[in-house]
Symmetry: C2
Subunit: 354 residues, 2 copies
């Protein structure tokens, strides 16, 4: 088990320290090596995904990532911004399948901005394509050219998908649905975008291989509404990179406790990058108050998907449930009647509960 | 006052009938002529935006639209689908500025899936660019070509904005913000898309002409989250056609009463198309139960924006508030303790309250 550990920026190092301690406590004989990604990598090497990290990440079986980015690097030129490191490692490792659960823990039902009856028991899995679409499509750019007789700047990007890209992400989604509630909702904008018309056509074709899964289609604008109106109608949702970026964040926020949500980004052989769904939270970085649970749960996902260690994954997940039941809360999910703890204490509690 | 009336499909004719009655009750000396748009136009002429409608719409000062579309026309080839009529008339009339208020009426606070304290008093205006972006960008299509050594289908679209398009919609948004809470949030995905980097740059430039408006920027994924988490942080939001499609529908649904929400789509001279934010609801069409208030409120927006008749607009809006206060509700917003009425009765009540 070779794990590349990338703490990243902001609260990244603090939350990662706890995830690493949890993994060590499991005594898994994992080899863990640390590297730089994002703003910290820019500071040290001038580039957000330096060669040393590339080597480490390519040779590892899995990558565990904290979070990247922060206002400190906002003014840098495009190619040096921390998020280019994230996009770079996704593309480099061919991590095309992003799995983002949106789960509401019963103990945290109050944290949601939605009414309890609308979100109680929420358990959605969003499958987002992660290495294609308008994120990577060419051509793209900004240039000055003649428009209607005057010189103007024009900015453009290309939304593009080839058949094989759509097919492989749909397979991942159908297989995930088979292991869950057997309902898959594919999200597109086929009434306007040819690119997503192809997506819908291929979804219909792939569906023939999964007769036990009920496939439905939804337009992206309607999906954004239905997530607010009645999110529990969904089991697994699958969509492209751009729509998935928006909808997976919207779905996470339905829980009100994004500090609890892990994610996995997988290649075709279940090599994966695992990271919390939340960001680097520069405002609370270094204070020891960040919630490490999403990172700890990301480590559990890693054990499940890359290392096939279902039992160890469940041990972590159950330990997390236990500390929630004990009433321990970091600041982001704290409410009256529960005990407010820091990052380190939360890590301690999970280790004790293992 | 020349008004082109396009009832459209599904519940369109029923709700439009009430809006027209309300306008007539105001005795405005408006000339109203009816035309076909959408599925009904396809049925009658083979095309969703027929020439007769084009003529009518071009010659009118304003267009009042019901709703278009329905499963009946889903199987038709792309160019004949009802929504092509909608895209066609927007482009033809150069209606680049789509204004979509998301307002929660105090009487309907319960209808929201969000907690009352999160949405009470919600009043957001979303300004969506409507004639550019990936909706109309070229090149686009689906073709079979060689990819990695095999023949595959590939689908693509082009997200593109020229400077003048971004500038004019931002001006509309800044001016709207000046008349409201003086806060404008511009939504983009500048960390990934060059097209929206240009958007952000130009927003900064235009902001110099509106020193009294506080401009902020938000990434689209974060905006989708913030709308769920704390929607009242927003006053006016402005964004491109694609992101606006998604965010404006999400924002409408926060109110839980999309049957109440009007919209306006304006050109540079305040000629406009006015339509409810909801769809054609084929499932309840012809039953006389649809909510006509969004269409009636769209007529009010028309009086305000195109005809500069603020007083008449307010008369309609106040009449609507009055019928809500009287406890009258169509099925979509009905709850125990209120009186359920049909489309026609609701229209009668508004006219009586004028
Ligand atoms: C940081 C950014 C490039 C990234 C994305 O848009 O994919 C992030 O929002 C995410 O969802 O992981
Ligand atoms: C029907 C469709 C083409 C349209 C759009 O995407 O613009 C609709 O969703 C809207 O928002 O008015």
């Amino acid at each position: 088990m070779k794990i590349c550990v990338l703490p990243g920026d902001g609260i990244g190092p603090e939350i990662m320290a706890e995830a690493v301690r949890v993994l060590r406590a499991l005594d898994l004989k994992a080899e863990m090596e640390e590297g730089l990604l994002g703003g910290c990598a820019v500071d040290a090497t001038g580039t957000p995904y330096p060669e040393a990290t590339q080597k480490l990440a390519r040779e590892a079986d899995a990558v565990l990532l904290g979070a990247v980015g922060g206002p400190k690097w906002d003014g840098l030129p495009r190619e040096q911004r921390p998020e280019r490191g994230l996009l770079g490692i996704r593309k480099d490792l061919n991590l095309f399948a992003n799995l983002r659960p949106a789960i509401l823990y019963p103990e945290l039902a109050n944290a949601s901005s939605l009414k309890p009856e609308v979100v109680a028991g929420l358990d959605i899995l969003i499958v987002r394509e992660l290495t294609g679409d308008i994120y990577f499509g060419q051509p793209r750019g900004i240039e000055t050219r003649e428009v209607d007789g005057t010189q103007q700047r024009v900015g453009w990007n290309t939304m593009i998908y080839a058949e094989y890209e759509i097919r492989r992400i749909l397979k991942v989604a159908f297989e995930a649905a088979q292991k869950r509630g057997k309902k898959l909702c594919s999200v597109d904008k086929m009434n306007v975008l040819e690119c997503t018309q192809l997506w819908r056509d291929i979804a219909e074709e792939v569906a023939k291989d999964y007769p036990d899964v009920e496939l439905s289609h939804m337009l992206v604008d309607n999906a954004a509404m239905q997530l607010v109106r009645a999110p529990k109608q969904f089991d697994v949702m699958v969509t492209g990179n751009m729509f998935g970026d928006i909808l997976s964040d919207e779905a996470s926020m339905l829980t009100g406790s994004i500090g609890m949500l892990p994610s996995a980004s997988l290649d075709a052989n279940n090599k994966g990058l695992y990271e919390p769904s939340h960001g680097s939270a520069p405002d609370i970085a270094g204070k020891g108050v960040a919630n490490p649970l999403a990172t700890i749960l990301s480590a559990a996902m890693m054990l499940r998907y890359t290392f096939n260690q279902e039992e160890a994954a469940l041990r972590i997940e159950n330990a997390v449930k236990k500390v929630l039941a004990q009433g321990l809360r970091t600041g982001d999910i704290h409410e009256p009647g529960t005990k407010k703890v820091g990052t380190r204490e939360m890590g301690d509690a999970v280790i004790a509960a293992l």
